[in-house]
């Protein structure tokens, strides 16, 4: 029992650190640049992806024995788009304010490389508990990446941070009243932020690994 517990924990951690969608695998970079010009958009988008990722992994792993291998990709796409549409409808119904801001990008989740990749590489080969843990890890890793990227982009580009204080409310903290580095909220700044943070993430990881090896 304890061995399955640790392996589940490892699966979750794997998605956050070792195989972080953005910082390590460099997948789904397009949305990570498109939505991260304010902290709240990054956070909302991260949660939407987390939900879809877990549900898709769960569904695929439950169906893995009945899917014919020749049509597995169309079926993965159907499952993903189904869950994305459900997310979209639920958000429009229950959190309309959030939906008004990120609704446009939610539909993009259908084309996320990371979700299709996890369905193909993991969920279609494992039972539902590890698949859920994997989805959770991948989703949290993505949420973490979007949060850090949008934190730095908004802070540097607008001099403020917009923090969601609830499902429909938000608060903007303004630190500098001018725009210190406008380029950071423009698309070009997205590339800069992703690149620099990716380097930083890998540098910290490498140092940590070296220290662990030394001990």
């Amino acid at each position: 029992m304890s061995s399955t517990n640790t392996s589940l924990k490892e699966l979750v951690l794997n998605g956050i650190v070792k195989e972080n969608t953005i910082f390590k695998l460099a997948l789904s970079l397009c949305p990570s640049i498109a939505v991260t010009n304010s902290l709240k958009n990054g956070i909302y988008m991260g949660f939407a992806v987390l939900f879809v990722q877990v549900m898709v992994n769960l569904t695929i792993s439950l169906m893995r024995n009945v899917i014919h291998p020749k049509v597995r990709l169309p079926i993965f796409m159907l499952v993903i788009s189904g869950w994305v549409t459900v997310t979209q409808l639920l958000m429009a119904a229950f959190v309309p304010d959030v939906y008004a801001k990120v609704g446009l990008y939610i539909a993009l989740i259908v084309a996320f490389a990371s979700i299709l990749a996890r369905a193909e590489m993991f969920a279609s080969k494992n039972s539902f508990l590890p698949s859920m843990a994997d989805g959770l890890g991948m989703g949290i890793g993505f949420l973490f990446a979007l949060t850090t990227i949008s934190f730095f982009r908004e802070l540097l580009g607008k001099g403020s941070l917009t923090v969601p204080t609830g499902l429909a409310s938000q608060h903007t903290f303004t630190f500098i009243n001018t725009k210190p580095l406008l380029i950071m909220v423009l698309p070009a700044g997205g590339f800069l932020a992703v690149g620099i943070l990716m380097a930083l993430f890998n540098w910290i990881n490498a140092r940590y690994a070296a220290k662990a090896a030394a001990h």
Binding site: K70, V79, P96, G157
Partner: protein
């Protein structure tokens, strides 16, 4: 591929379609009435904010940039006190969904940007108070964008002239022009005259 494979694939896809379709139908059936109510509420809130004095309104429809839009005749105690019109402006990267409130002489009182997809950091300044407040008491002749300081007209946002123009000269101006052309002119004129005779007495 054997006949068995073909049958299995067909059953696979049909079953997935059916299950997926019914889940979506179920969620949609439950979500859509809520979405409809949410939209109604947002609209009500927007109107209340634009013309707080009004206690009733008459809803009409028109189209702006071939999109479905609405306008409202705002009333208080049966008298028309102003108008609110929804209008779209073609911006740099999106259509800017704007609500414009005017008094009964068609002078702009307040505008609200309900939705847009302009460049963050530049074009999205059309949402700021300083830009929107410039519209107060502007008549249709002064709805034009000037680069540089101006009190008479609308000052462009630096770095976002296209977005400023889209709001001012497309959305607001066309909306107000439509109101002036469409809304019952004789009645408005009569009210104005009534006002003048009151002064004389």
């Amino acid at each position: 591929m054997t006949a068995k494979d073909i049958i299995k694939i067909t059953i696979n896809l049909v079953v997935i379609y059916l299950i997926g379709g019914s889940i979506l139908a179920f969620v949609y059936a439950n979500a859509s009435p809520r979405v409809f109510r949410n939209n109604e509420e947002t609209e009500k809130k927007a109107l209340k904010e634009l013309v707080p004095d009004a206690d009733a309104n008459e809803k009409h429809e028109w189209s702006s940039h071939e999109k479905h839009a609405k306008y409202f005749i705002m009333k208080k105690g049966g008298e028309t006190i102003g108008y609110v019109i929804q209008s779209f402006g073609k911006g740099y990267s999106s259509y800017i969904n704007t609500f414009i409130a005017t008094d009964k002489d068609f002078r702009v009182q307040k505008i609200n940007i309900l939705g847009h997809g302009e460049t963050p950091g530049l074009g999205d300044e059309i949402e700021t108070d300083w830009f929107r407040n410039q519209f107060k008491d502007k008549s249709i002749d002064h709805l034009k964008v000037i680069k540089g300081d101006t009190k008479e007209d609308i000052q462009a946002i630096s770095g976002a002239t296209i977005s400023s123009r889209a709001v001012t000269e497309d959305a607001v101006k066309n909306g107000v022009a439509f109101l002036m052309k469409t809304v019952n002119q004789p009645a408005a004129a009569a009210e104005q005259e009534g006002g003048h005779t009151d002064v004389k007495h």
